[in-house]
């Protein structure tokens, strides 16, 4: 019976909230609604409604996909210290970090679906039912690891939350192995996603072994930066207990990751520019422009400026422990890495194309609207997750037998 009460309350809680909560959800639903109209047009007319063409055959969708896989992978950055090193202030937010990862994976998968020309043939990719080309195709690998990661990152937080609701200790025997598994798995999803591009000899810009390490380094910047912003919002709006100390610790970890990211970028730039072979062309297109085409140049330099500035902010204890500069730095990283790993990674891979043609790609309103819709959907899912998870963690939403305030277990119980 208690399970039924839990389910019923969960559903009803989603529909109850503050004015801000309603406004936020209404806003997200509006964006999603607009996106759906654009998506129906795309389904109807074909991918011709995008700016993608034979020369640049992937664009904004696949860029967002790559970025979000990184955000999802970065959940480990919150998990590692919490579970391995018992760093207590971060422990409080592991569950939320994992739910963020789950939301990011859902968005990533939706971006792949948005990019797919024939979503009606989606079943062809389902193992055993369709004809998934495993292990030959890296995309097949990605399908497997991403879905596995999604399951992992939903099971663990849901299990912990349900246990807290029932006032019970989550079983260590169950949680710890799954958490330990999720750490290499997180590295795995982003490595596989990097290999997706890395494995294409036809695209010298991607065919660099530095790609996977760079993906990981930049993911460990953008994911936690997003977490820093989200946790502050939840602290203000949902009364979630997160200590500043935890945010500062995360920002310190970002500084190290950003150093590695910038170092690897430097290594790549050196190799391409010093040798100056024909493989330099995509890099040249990105940073300087090529044969009079330079639409990505302002973007990538803004990204570099933001990433370097954020690195300095997060390196200096004084600025990283000031909420204003911390937030500026986080914002810079979210945007900077998005440019670097979205358009800045996907588009130059196609320019110039294998026969030397240059087609300049910039997403159009259809692609932007659909992408915003997917982001809104992900944020909505995350908001609903939080609507349930935070009251449970705070001890407000709990088994009827603990409903009296004195009997409430403390928040810190979430750790396994």
């Amino acid at each position: 019976m208690e399970a039924w009460r839990f389910f019923k309350k969960t559903v009803s809680m989603v529909f109850i909230g503050t004015k801000g909560y309603y406004l936020w959800c209404a806003f997200l639903l509006t964006v999603i609604g607009i996106a759906i109209t654009f998506y129906i047009q795309q389904l109807d007319a074909g991918l011709i409604v995008t700016q993608m063409r034979d020369q640049v055959s992937w664009g904004l969708y696949i860029g967002n996909f790559t970025y979000l896989v990184g955000v999802a992978a970065a959940a480990v950055l919150l998990v590692i210290p919490a579970y391995i090193y018992h760093f207590d202030p971060i422990k409080e937010i592991v569950v939320l970090g994992e739910l963020l990862a789950a939301s990011a994976i859902i968005m990533a998968l939706m971006f792949v679906l948005a990019d797919l020309g024939r979503p009606d043939r989606f079943w062809h990719i389902i193992p055993f039912i369709g004809s998934l080309s495993f292990p030959n195709s890296l995309l097949a690998w990605d399908v497997i690891v991403l879905n596995g990661y999604l399951v992992l990152n939903t099971i663990v937080p849901i299990y912990i939350l349900v246990k807290i609701y029932f006032g019970a200790e989550p079983s260590k025997k169950f949680v710890i192995p799954l958490v330990l598994l999720s750490i290499p798995w997180a590295v795995g999803i982003h490595t596989v996603t990097a290999f997706l591009y890395n494995g294409l000899a036809a695209r010298p810009f991607w065919n660099a072994s530095i790609l996977a390490p760079r993906f990981l380094a930049s993911a460990f910047c953008s994911g936690p930066a997003m977490a820093i912003i989200i946790f502050q919002i939840l602290r203000k709006t949902a009364g979630m207990k997160i200590r500043n100390e935890a945010l500062f610790k995360i920002s310190e970890l970002i500084a190290y990751s950003m150093f590695i990211n910038l170092f690897l970028l430097g290594a790549e730039l050196f190799k391409e520019y010093y040798t100056g072979t024909i493989h330099l062309a995509p890099m040249e297109y990105l940073y300087q422009g090529l044969h009079g085409h330079h639409s990505l140049v302002p973007w990538i330099w803004s990204a570099l400026f933001m990433n370097v500035t954020a690195f300095v902010i997060f390196l200096i204890p004084k600025t990283r422990e000031n909420l204003l500069t911390l937030n500026i730095g986080s914002f810079f990283i979210i945007v900077g890495v998005w440019i670097e790993k979205g358009l800045g990674l996907i588009v130059p891979g196609f320019i110039p194309d294998p026969l030397g043609e240059i087609y300049e790609y910039m997403p159009n309103i259809n692609e932007i609207a659909i992408s915003l819709g997917i982001w809104a959907f992900g944020l909505l899912i995350f908001t609903l997750f939080m609507r349930i998870a935070i009251p449970i963690q705070r001890g407000d939403f709990i088994h009827s037998r603990y409903a009296k305030p004195t009997a409430r277990p403390q928040y810190e119980r979430i750790e396994p």
């Binding site: 011709i48 055959s57 998968l109 024939r118 009606d120 990719i125 080309s133 195709s137 036809a202 110039p352």
Partner: protein, 284 residues
């Protein structure tokens, strides 16, 4: 995702044929009877759409045949007749999107390997132009095709006679193969193909020139519908300068074998180890 699949399922499956199309198996997993049923359904569909009886062949590769192509760069004048002969033969979409399987690029004499200065849209009064050479590029029918390796659903494969084909009804439109191809050998139906009924070629092969649908990938098949019946590909036949050669690599007396043995041939981007069966050479 389920909702989306349901949405597209709903739009397709209003009719029985639509449902059958949705559930259609991978071509290589069909029995002979299933193939026949699919051909019947497709022929009915094309008849309705174009008002013409289309004959869809599923003729298999002949044993002991491995097709090879030769292209004489000394002779090519860059007239692009091959491009349009190919379009007419293979039922490509004519406009919006305009799809072509052959691309002739113009190179300044003195540079062959670096294609960065290749001109794709040259448009002079007359060809050839002094100071330039022309290089037609199409699917190189690699023995080790990167496009086949990356396809997540095995919708593209290499036939026993060496032709790389696509099952247009199995392709999910992810375009990974396009990213993997070093020769720009694949093009995409970004919209419903625009093929006037009057220009439809009704002699088609299931794995080749049958009319395609939106959001699937397509490519040169060496005119599979012709070569398996002992004819030359359309581009070979139309070429006014004899630039294009074609034959069986396994036949020691074929013209293509003669060229490989007696001319100084090279293959495009050999450093990729894709092992193309498309040989460029200079007769002079």
């Amino acid at each position: 995702m389920g909702a989306l699949a349901g949405l597209s399922l709903g739009s397709l499956s209003c009719t029985r044929a639509g449902m059958e199309e949705f559930l259609q198996k991978h071509f290589r997993e069909m029995s002979e009877d299933e193939k026949k049923a699919v051909i019947r359904r497709l022929e009915a569909k094309y008849l309705k759409k174009y008002g013409k009886k289309v004959r869809i062949s599923t003729q298999q590769a002949e044993a002991g045949v491995l097709w090879g192509y030769g292209l004489d760069l000394s002779r090519c004048i860059g007239c692009r007749r091959c491009v349009y002969a190919c379009v007419n033969e293979n039922n490509q979409s004519r406009v919006n999107p305009q799809l072509q399987w052959i691309r002739v690029i113009r190179l300044k004499k003195g540079s062959l390997i670096n294609l960065e200065n290749a001109e794709h849209y040259y448009n002079p009064e007359t060809v050839p132009e002094p100071g330039f050479m022309y290089m037609p590029v199409q699917c190189q029918q690699c023995e080790n095709p990167p496009c086949v390796r990356v396809c997540p659903v095995k919708a593209t494969w290499k036939e026993p006679d060496g032709i790389v084909v696509v099952d247009y009804n199995w392709c999910i439109g992810c375009r990974y193969c396009m990213a993997a191809c070093p020769y720009k050998g694949r093009v995409f139906n970004w919209a419903e193909p625009n093929l006037p009924a009057a220009e439809l070629n009704t002699e088609v092969h299931y794995l080749g020139n049958r009319p395609r649908m939106k959001n699937v990938v397509e490519k040169c098949t060496f005119c599979i519908q012709r070569v398996r019946q002992g004819r030359y590909p359309a581009c070979v036949e139309i070429c006014p300068t004899g630039t294009r050669k074609f034959g069986n690599l396994l036949d020691p007396n074929s013209e293509i074998r003669y060229l490989i043995e007696n001319k100084r041939v090279f293959r495009l981007k050999e450093d990729f180890n894709t092992d193309p069966k498309f040989y460029y050479f200079f007769s002079a």
